[in-house]
């Protein structure tokens, strides 16, 4: 009986903890650029849940994008990236609440060629 109660109690705590864990859904998280080094514009939709009741700020590779109470951001956030970039949600104390890497892919094949001879070589 004691064992049964313990299991039940632990399961409830686990379920409560999971329910309160901050989470977000970012769409899309992959940006398609034409070629290497070209800018890739992204219209980002952010859906959050279980956010702490404080002001939270959104950073794009340490660059501040926006701050909002409980992360109530606009329906769409427009950003532009040139390489894989980390999107981070932080509180006022600069503690990271959530983070997600935004990936960049290229529609044109990479036209960089690997050199056959090493540069500055003396042999």
């Amino acid at each position: 009986m004691l064992l049964f109660c313990s299991i039940l109690f632990c399961n409830k705590i686990a379920a409560d903890t999971s329910a309160r864990t901050p989470a977000w859904i970012l769409q899309p998280n992959v940006c398609i650029a034409q070629k290497v080094d070209s800018e890739c514009a992204l219209s980002l939709s952010i859906k959050t849940k279980n956010m702490p009741t404080e002001i939270l700020c959104l950073y794009l590779d340490e660059q501040l994008l926006a701050c909002s109470q409980q992360a109530y951001f606009p329906r769409k956030i427009y950003i532009s990236i040139q390489q894989d970039t980390l999107l981070t949600l932080k509180n006022k104390a600069h503690k990271t609440i959530l983070s997600k890497k935004l990936l960049i892919k290229y529609s044109e094949p990479n036209k960089q060629r690997r050199r056959i001879r090493p540069p500055w070589s003396l042999f």
Binding site: Q112, R113, R114, I116, R117, P119, W120, S121, L122, F123
Partner: protein
Amino acid sequence: MYFTLCRLIILLSWFVTSTALACLTQDRCVEQSSWQLGVAIGIGVKTNPLVDGDNIPLVILPDIAWYAKQAYFDNGELGYQWIYKPKIAFETFLQLDSERAFFSFLHPTNILFPIENSAINSPAPPAQDMPMNQPSLSIDKIASRKWGINGGIRGHYFLSKGEWQLTFQQDISNVHKGQQVRLEYSHNWLWHKFHLALRVGTDWKSARLIDYYYGVSERDTHVTEFYFEGQSGWQTYMSVTVQKPITETWSWLANLGYRKLPNSLTNSPIVEQNHISNIFLGVAYRF
């Protein structure tokens, strides 16, 4: 020594995994159909193993490359790449035989910035570097050697940070009609802001090639005790290049290299050192 080299190569390749081709540093990659130009300025020297041979001052190192989809020019090598895949590549090429550079002060680096030889000459080699009881003959007193043009084929096998190369070259200019084969492993690291590149390899050079450049016969002197017939031999080499970016276009550059010469060459009376070494310290600019 070759056992040691093999162990080193196996050790180096042991910790690399076979994944897709990657350009670890921008220097190792070039945008298709455009020139990649660079120049390094600094101080350095490449030793000359020949008797009375001028050490080659390294003050300005140019870097010139152009790659089309398959044809390319890379620091004096003109070639055509038949296969270029993430894991393997194969090309044929033409290049000058670099062996001739030691016989002349008209080496490209010397033309760019000649320095008085006395300022950079290394001291006389230690006794153990000299072949025992070997009389020497100055290269100033022998017949001139011609530049050879080599035609070659080369295969690559790419790893995530390393690369194996196997190269065969044949003199196609009928200067000496010799051949050479090279097996090389190169490895690239990115450590903090330092780009490190290590190359370890061995060259086999045929008797015809060695004998043409380092052999001594009646074409050079009438003193028969100097006569020497060069034999084929293996030359093991190793080089380390370290680069640290300063800005987007400037970087610190250091290069260190060592090549061991075989007895089949060092027994020649025109050779007085059993190795070739080079060092260069400077800054590199990428246009």
